[in-house]
Subunit: 140 residues, 2 copies
């Protein structure tokens, strides 16, 4: 896991395609496991971050659930300390809570992202996470 | 995986508690990762079956998504052949489709179960899966 290389073994679910997006600070792979446009109203993506990569601050009108499938990552809500995430962890992100998530400096990181209450709307992207915020994790 | 023993290493998510239930043919472990009673409207359980254990035929008014996290299992919809499931597979079960799922004869099997469109109602349990049906899998 302490590598910049990402391969199909990184995640138990399909890795998908690499994409570059202004809302992510580095390389990310995305595979939609359940599409947006169907009867389930439950979009599910498998997201894999390379070390140090994180997304920008954002919020979801309907909330989001993260299920960590491999590696180590960070999760932070505005005004709170960074939470360290490991395989098997579950993160419940309430609607409209400003937050970010991504890999730790030395690990790739994969999580399932489940968007909830999709009838309330999608995601609102905000400013990037500063290096100061990203480096503020305090081990306990 | 070819063992009757189930331990915490069986699944990347918490194994939870063993339970015996008339709707399952053998031992099953269940850990609710996301509860029913919260703002997310997205109950998620981690379900682990011992070899040969399967649930009864059933259907969901709002549909269900299975995400396979370890082992090998079976999934069957009424009138169709059994589908073999492996780690990383995704099963989309449309609302009101009669089906069952469980472990193969020689493998433990863990999947995440996500209930969708919960406002439409829950699960309806039906008759047990016959040995004849369970043993009808044809390898391809």
């Amino acid at each position: 896991m302490n590598t910049n290389k990402v391969n199909e073994n990184q995640s138990i679910f399909a890795l998908g395609e690499k994409f570059n997006n202004k809302n992510f600070s580095g390389d990310v792979w995305l595979k939609m496991l359940v599409d947006r446009d169907n009867d389930f109203n439950c979009p599910i993506g498998n997201v894999t971050f390379t070390p140090s990569c994180r997304n920008s601050w954002h919020k979801h009108f309907g909330g989001q659930i993260l299920l960590v499938t491999s590696g180590e990552g960070y999760y932070q809500e505005e005004g709170k300390e960074i939470r360290l995430l490991k395989t098997g962890d579950v993160v419940l992100i309430e609607p409209n809570v400003k937050h970010w998530h991504g890999a730790t400096p030395n690990s790739c990181f994969s999580h399932l992202s489940i968007e909830t209450n999709v009838e309330k709307g999608g995601v609102v992207w905000l400013e990037p996470v500063s290096d100061s915020d990203y480096n503020s994790y305090k081990a306990k």
